[in-house]
């Protein structure tokens, strides 16, 4: 399966030049970029690991791209996304988020149904990759 979180997951993978253009757009709006990665892309895993704090003072798209490249080298098997933070009143939240690296093989999620009274079903979603310890998922070796 293909995890389609983020604003461009239905498109072909963005090239580095295309990623840089999106970063430039965010910088032009006055937003701060951040890089995050995870080996647990559960839809409700809101907090991926931060590749450093958001880059509030970095106004250079090429510089942000270098951080992405460095994160890719350090976390070659993980999902990596870029987020843009807007600190302006009325927003004060994330304004962009898109995936810039994903594992070659995405095993996806199991939907676990447990029957309750009547016809009620309680649902939980579990990543197949999560059966392994964090350091061994998506082909990473100890």
């Amino acid at each position: 399966m293909r995890i389609t979180q983020g604003q461009f997951s239905f498109l072909p993978e963005l090239t580095d030049a295309e990623i840089q253009a999106q970063i430039q757009y965010a910088l032009d709006q006055g937003w701060a970029l951040a890089v995050e990665y995870t080996d647990d892309p559960h839809p409700k895993n809101y907090y991926w690991s931060m590749w450093g704090t958001p880059m509030f003072d970095l106004k250079d798209a090429a510089g942000v791209l270098m951080e992405i490249l460095a994160c890719r080298v350090a976390r070659p098997h993980d999902y990596i996304k870029v987020q843009a933070f807007d600190s302006n009143k009325g927003f004060e939240s994330i304004r962009m988020a898109f995936i810039v690296q994903r594992p070659d093989y995405e095993p996806g999620f199991e939907l676990v149904r447990s029957e309750g009274p009547g016809r009620i079903i309680h649902y939980s979603i579990r990543g197949y990759a999560n059966a392994l310890p964090s350091c061994e998922r998506y082909g990473a070796s100890r």
Binding site: M1, T4, Q7, P12, E18, A21, P43, G90, H122, Y123
Partner: protein
């Protein structure tokens, strides 16, 4: 602006001698004190502008004073009991009357209401005055509430949207693009099991939301529990298969509040992220559900069923920008607010005014957009507008340009009617949307290059190609019945 001085006969001026003022009998409203051309509205006042069409021979200023009177303290005759109160203070005051450009016999009447005329946090109380008896008042041929300024003092007595745009996005984990939805079709007749199939296919294909239609409640062909159970299964299945948070607006509209609470609680217990109600449930029921939604971490969608009975005609009723304002105060999270390009009423300037009213923290007066007053929104959350009705993937560049990013684009027929199936329909919409956002961010001129941008994505995305081929010539290019009358040049799409 009409000042009233040139038309004034001595009899028509405000009577200041108290004995004379309160002699039993009938006075003109302006004599009673409902016309105050020198009045300076206070920051705390609630302001309203009405379009009035007086009966032949009725002076517009007297008509404006009558509207002020009938929507506040007055009755048709003098009553001595006025003298037991500070009646001067409670009287609404008409303070300005302008002829409507290009519409002979129609006038914009500005009226100020003191804050103390209204119960805190009650749309029902506000509207019982502002659109109460006055709309049936015989000396007027027609009356329309065009716009209101709600003072921050009064706004702060309302909850506002239960969730709001920012928190909805954080909960749904969707940023940087409009959200996508679809209304299930056919509107009526599907069994719960068949209905859930459509929900699953649309969500799996790439939509964030699916939606019950306004008239899906609990009919013989599909009772509500059955629908909720199948739909929630579809939502979870699609979530597991895409890794994205999905939702379906479960319509809890019912005959009584008890029924609505029961349905809402069931939706919550099943894990639904969103429920919906229809405007026809009434203002009090809407406020009750908004408070329930805030208590239960539920996004609350409002379908504006019924509004066109009073919003469409320019000379009579209530403009939708006022309804949108009331609904932001009442506390819903989503409201259908027009598409500009789709099948339903929507002049671009009017729609812009409505979208601003939903989404901005401060809306400056803008006559071109039908906004008569500066409207600060205090700290009420933002209301997500929903664009629904006759839109399709081929219009994506127009939709993004007109409506911006904080909007739910709902393609019902444009998803379910896709020749390759519902999933393909959803995928076509999602690819068109992501392609267009990406191009816009790259600095391309999507208004002019839109069709080319879509065509180029359609070269690698067959569902998009099929969608563009199927609906390429579909437009709904009719004149709007509700356009703004303050600008001389009409707008065209």
């Amino acid at each position: 602006m009409l000042t009233g001085t040139t038309l004034n006969k001595p009899l028509d001026v405000k009577i200041t001698d108290m004995k004379e003022r309160y002699t039993s009998g009938v006075l003109k409203y302006r004599q009673m004190g409902y016309w105050e051309p020198d009045y300076e509205p206070k920051d705390t006042d609630i302001l309203a502008v009405f379009r009035i069409t007086p009966q032949d021979g009725v002076d517009p200023i007297e008509a404006a004073a009558a509207v002020a009177g009938e929507s506040s303290t007055a009755t048709w005759t003098v009553v001595w009991t006025d003298r037991l109160t500070d009646s001067e203070y409670y009287r609404a005051k008409a303070y300005r009357v302008d002829p409507v450009p290009g519409a002979p016999g129609q006038y914009f009447a500005y009226i100020a209401y003191d804050l103390d005329l209204f119960e805190e946090g009650s749309i029902a109380n506000l509207t019982a005055s502002i659109i109460g008896n006055v709309f049936g008042f015989k000396p007027l041929k027609a009356l329309r509430l065009e716009d209101m300024r709600i003072s921050p003092h009064y706004l702060k007595t309302f909850q506002g949207p239960a969730t709001g745009i920012i928190v909805e996005r954080e909960r749904m984990n969707v940023y940087g693009r409009p959200l996508l939805g679809a209304t299930m079709k056919p509107k009526l007749g599907l069994s719960g099991r068949n209905y859930g199939r459509v929900v699953y296919e649309a969500l799996k294909g790439g939509l964030d939301f699916t939606k019950d239609d306004e008239n899906i409640n609990s009919q013989p062909f599909m009772h509500w529990r059955d629908r909720f159970l199948y739909c929630v299964d579809s939502v979870n299945k699609a979530t597991a298969e895409t890794g994205e948070i999905k939702g379906t607006y479960l319509n809890v509209t019912a005959a009584t509040m008890e029924d609505m609470y029961e349905r809402a609680e069931f939706a919550r217990d099943l894990g639904s992220v969103i429920i919906m109600i229809d405007l026809v449930v009434g203002y009090t029921a809407i406020q009750s559900m908004a408070k329930w939604a805030r208590r239960n971490d539920m996004i609350l969608h409002l379908h504006r069923a019924g509004h066109s009975t009073y919003t469409r005609q320019k000379n009579h009723g209530v403009s939708f920008r006022v309804i949108a304002k009331w609904m932001r105060m009442a506390g819903v999270d989503h409201i259908h607010a027009g598409t500009v390009v789709g099948k339903l009423e929507g002049d671009p300037n009017v729609i812009r005014g409505i979208y601003d009213t939903c989404r901005e923290t401060y809306v400056p007066a803008n006559p071109q957009h039908g906004i008569f007053f500066d409207q600060p929104w205090a700290s009420l959350k933002k209301l997500m507008p929903v664009a629904s009705g006759g839109i399709h993937a081929g219009q994506m560049h127009q939709l993004l340009t007109y409506l911006g990013e904080d909007v739910v684009l709902q393609f019902g027929g444009g998803t379910i009617g896709h020749p390759m199936g519902i999933q393909a329909g959803a995928t076509a919409n999602r690819v068109a949307l992501e392609t267009m956002v990406k191009a816009r961010n790259e600095g391309r001129d999507i208004w002019n290059e839109g069709p080319e941008i879509l065509a180029s994505a359609a070269r690698w995305c067959q569902p998009l190609r099929a969608a563009l081929d199927t609906w390429k010539d579909v437009t709904f290019d009719y004149a709007s019945t509700d356009s703004v009358d303050l600008v001389s040049t009409p707008t065209a799409i």
